[in-house]
């Protein structure tokens, strides 16, 4: 039997899962994360720590940086890359996404279309990274976990997320179409 024709293969691996399934799973796992690690789910803060570990790898030191000056941040950095729950979570996202795309046989290395695309991607990445740090989190740490923790800041974040997406879409059409 051709596995590609199996309805279970289609439902589990080939077709995108319904939004409601994703929403329920994300909610359940963020509760598990909070219960197991004592911290709400976050993604981009971990990336900042990865940056700090890379700096340390090359002999640099971030002890005097204001962002890493809290005791908690220092403890996380001292514990190391492999002993960080956030690191494991982010690696899990990358490996899980790869697994999903391989199972659906949709893996493809995409070509860059233009120099403009490259510049926009780098610029966008830098802006997102900077914004996530000065905004005390990304759309996971500040929005999703914020709202899940009954924090008003999560809702404020949501409003300005829409403002930003509106302005961003206008810019995209102006410069990319």
């Amino acid at each position: 039997m051709d596995i590609r024709k199996s309805k279970f293969y289609k439902a589990w691996f080939k077709d995108a899962w319904p939004y409601i399934t994703g929403a329920v799973l994300l909610s359940v796992f963020q509760i598990v994360t909070l219960a197991a690690t004592g911290n709400p789910w976050g993604v981009s803060g971990v990336l900042a720590n990865w940056g700090a570990w890379i700096v340390e790898l090359f002999g640099g030191n971030v002890d005097k940086w204001y962002y890493f000056s809290s005791e908690g941040a220092q403890a996380t950095l001292a514990n190391g890359f492999l002993k960080d729950a956030g690191t494991m979570r982010n690696l899990g996202i990358i490996i899980g996404a790869l697994f999903a795309t391989l199972m659906a046989s949709q893996f493809k290395i995409k070509k860059l279309k233009s120099k403009k695309q490259l510049i926009a991607a780098i610029l966008g990445g830098l802006l997102m990274g900077y914004g996530a740090r000065v905004g005390f989190g990304c759309n996971i740490g500040a929005l999703f976990s914020g709202i899940a923790s009954m924090s008003l800041s999560g809702w404020v974040y949501a409003v300005f997320l829409f403002v930003g997406a509106y302005v961003g879409s206008k810019l995209l059409i102006k410069f990319f179409m």
């Binding site: 949709q106 493809k108 860059l112 695309q117 990319f176 179409m177």
Partner: protein
Amino acid sequence: MAEYELDCFGEACPIPLVKAEKKLDEMVVGDILIVLIDHSCAMKNVPEWARKQGHNVEIDEVDDGEWEVVIEKMK
């Protein structure tokens, strides 16, 4: 009845959708537009939008992670 091809390989949301909208505007009823996509979320939102507009849509998975969305302009 003309056939057009729109190469959207390497382009992420929402660019394939906006490009398809623009191109379809220039076409006449009965024309066919083939949108080449390698971004899985565009493979969902381009057909969804086209069907909502009342066009005929067919999706063809041509290779690993590559799709052809065939849209027949209906109105």
